[in-house]
Assembly symmetry: C2
Homo-oligomer: 214 residues x 2
Amino acid sequence: MEEAITDDVQLNVLQERPPMVPEAFRDSRIVFLANTAPALQMELLSQIAEPEFVAADTMNCWIEGRRDDLMKLLQKIDALVLNTGEAKLLTGDFNPVRSARKILAMGPKFVIIKKGEFGSMIADRAGDCFILPGYPVEDVKDPTGAGDSFAGGMMGYIGRNRGAVTLQMLKTAVAYGTVLASFTIEDFSLGRLSSVTKQDIDSRFEILKRVTQL
Amino acid sequence: MEEAITDDVQLNVLQERPPMVPEAFRDSRIVFLANTAPALQMELLSQIAEPEFVAADTMNCWIEGRRDDLMKLLQKIDALVLNTGEAKLLTGDFNPVRSARKILAMGPKFVIIKKGEFGSMIADRAGDCFILPGYPVEDVKDPTGAGDSFAGGMMGYIGRNRGAVTLQMLKTAVAYGTVLASFTIEDFSLGRLSSVTKQDIDSRFEILKRVTQL
């Protein structure tokens, strides 16, 4: 499985009132704009005083239905996180290498393409890239939340490190994202993730390194 | 694309007469049994005096139609090379980790599962594994022959090295296989592969290392 299929999208509370970032978070250094309408993502971002690194997620319905807004957002973020199908939809190109390059030309410094069980790819504007397989999970119960866990693990690692976000830092960040996602899919909801310790995470990080490094 | 679809299989000359290994090749140390009927693969193998490392490829029609022969062959080889769909068909298990383990229980010391553009995985009996993404090819013209080039590159590397074939040696071997396949798919037939130099291969090997190593 490398692509997600959308049956329905409900904006719920986000449709009624634009979200307000609480005062205590307005000095955030690292910002992740989780998947929602790009106009809302922009409005959220405008409430952060001086973000140093901004990543955003998106999905098919915004790529198709809110393309202009999304294009504006892409000018304001450092990294776009999206899956293979979304990258294809955004660029019209099914080849991940070309499609990544086309997305970088739209604004962000980095693009991170998620390939479900096949892992992920980072590409940067210098033409460099990094490809990491998925963690070899034996019992997948439910892939729901894998992408958000991936982004959470990635942003968590970035947030613990000071200094400019480089491709080298992002490599380790996506490896942590991959590990977090590997726990999420082992149970429904937060069943597995909620009991995960720092030691569990570090242990899988070491396994992921061992099984992917020559 | 991670799975192959078979429209038709023609054994051609192999159906008329069992293949004879020329005298000059009967002392081969390293043997690759390319995909054909398992009974023929076995007959070929029996003509090699003292093989040190034997790998075999197979496909859906033998898994479904010649299962008993294939099971006998699996007892006689060191490594089985097959794609995701074939592994699923052979074990009835869609999970690559479990499916690899089930194949190892059928006989071989190593199983190498090919995942098309998503790369490949090696698993061994000690429960260890290695996962390598595909080479990021920008212009794929025709995937025909990718699997054979992969096996060729892999066996070529093994053949150049003395000593027992270990997981560590196989890691580098599948990386070379991945590189060889990346050239094959850039043109039809041997269009690209025929003009490839050792330097081209080593250069892509270094790139593959750079884009996959943390």
